[in-house]
């Protein structure tokens, strides 16, 4: 099952790259010109995200470097250890929604330090794999179309991150 899914992930992109232009050519679409036409928008879109992402990354960088994040986590650590969530995993709860590369680096470090088959590494991998970087997704998706008022979107994203964090720990205790 897993190897089938791996093959599906590996093949889906090359198949799309071949099939989409092939189908379009059958429908008499000038494929290359159409590609260039659409591709032009890509640059504009990427550039329009820059201010949003710079603003967000600045705040996140400061927050991590100041040590404020670690201090906050130190306060709640005993509480989480009591319900079976190892303290080592805790920083992920804050790091995962704000920084994808930061949290991946942190998980990699946990895997290295505690061994890939330790409970800590399994819980951390599950947390990393089951949620996405909420703040990044929000910044990029809404930044690309110029949305300023995000309404309740961030609340929903952070709520599901919190649920995912506990669900990941629970799933690991259940399965391993």
């Amino acid at each position: 099952m897993v190897s089938f899914l791996h093959a599906l992930s590996a093949w889906s992109i090359p198949i799309m790259i071949v099939l989409i232009p092939l189908y379009a050519a059958f429908r008499k679409v000038p494929v290359y010109e159409t590609f260039i036409d659409g591709a032009k928008d890509g640059f504009q879109t990427a550039v329009s995200i820059i201010p949003h992402l710079v603003g967000m990354m600045t705040a996140i960088g400061m927050f991590r470097a100041s040590g404020a994040m670690d201090a906050m986590l130190g306060l709640v650590r005993p509480l989480f250890e009591r319900i079976g969530i190892p303290g080592e995993v805790l920083p992920l709860g804050l790091l995962r929604p704000i920084s994808g590369s930061g949290s991946l680096a942190y998980v990699t470090d946990l895997i290295k330090t505690h061994g890939p088959d330790s409970m800590i590494a399994r819980i951390a991998s599950t947390i990393q794999g089951s949620t996405d970087t909420t703040l990044y997704v929000l910044t990029v998706y809404f930044g690309a179309i110029g949305i300023r008022k995000t309404r309740y979107a961030l609340k929903v994203g952070l709520f599901s991150d919190a649920v995912g964090f506990f669900a990941a720990a629970a799933a690991c205790w259940l399965l391993f």
């Binding site: 899914l5 429908r27 159409t34 640059f43 990427a46 100041s66 997704v137 990029v140 110029g146 008022k149």
Partner: protein, 207 residues
């Protein structure tokens, strides 16, 4: 809320750093953070240019509309205010399937295209519509079948069963996606009928 989180992070960081003598590090982090923001966007340029080009072909050939018609019944209940057969559905489905397969850099351009389509239905381009919030909720929860990156890392460090996190990840991702959908629904109804003219937009589209 974004305003408060942003201000809070900056304020809290500087105050905490000042109390602990880490002002220098925080200043450096501010600028290196800004640099990361630009670097990430530069990385996005090639991905967006490529995928938006390919997707324009899919659009021109009628493939997106076809896909939208085929899947709309399945995902329409999540997006009740998007008109039937709207091309946004085609992109929403592409975005969701790319997420499922763990194809992060294909998922983002498709999600952005879907947002652009939803923006066309938005009477106030500065404010997110409920449909946009739902699409965002699905993406932040990101239901994943195979966490490929993590399996690779576990293999690198000599795991005996690198793929055994597939089951726990699937379980956790289903729970968190379910929570995201429920929370999104709750806020959608609590905020009442949106201050938007979606119904009339539906009429003009249908007519």
């Amino acid at each position: 809320m974004v305003n408060w989180i942003w201000l809070g992070m900056i304020l809290f960081s500087v105050v905490y750093a000042a109390a602990n003598g880490r002002v220098q590090q925080v200043t450096e982090a501010a600028f290196s953070g800004a640099q990361t923001g630009v670097t990430v966007c530069i990385g996005l340029i090639s991905i967006l240019v490529f995928w938006l080009g390919l997707m324009r072909i899919a659009e021109a050939s009628g493939l997106v509309a076809k896909l939208a018609r085929a899947v709309a019944p399945a995902v329409r209940w999540l997006f009740p205010d998007v008109p039937r057969d709207h091309p946004a559905f085609g992109y929403i489905l592409s975005n969701m399937s790319a997420n499922l397969l763990g194809l992060g850099n294909a998922a983002t351009p498709m999600g952005i295209r879907a947002m652009q389509e939803l923006q066309k239905l938005n009477p106030d381009p500065n404010t997110a519509t409920p449909a946009m919030c739902t699409l965002l909720a699905l993406n932040t929860a990101s239901i994943t079948l195979v966490p490929t990156t993590l399996i690779a890392i576990r293999m690198n460090f000599g795991s005996q069963h690198p793929t055994d996190i597939v089951a726990s990840t699937l379980l956790a991702t289903i729970v968190s996606t379910g929570a995201a959908i429920l929370a999104d629904r709750w806020y959608r109804y609590r905020s009442g009928p949106p201050p938007l003219m979606i119904p009339s937009a539906t009429e003009t589209k249908g007519g």
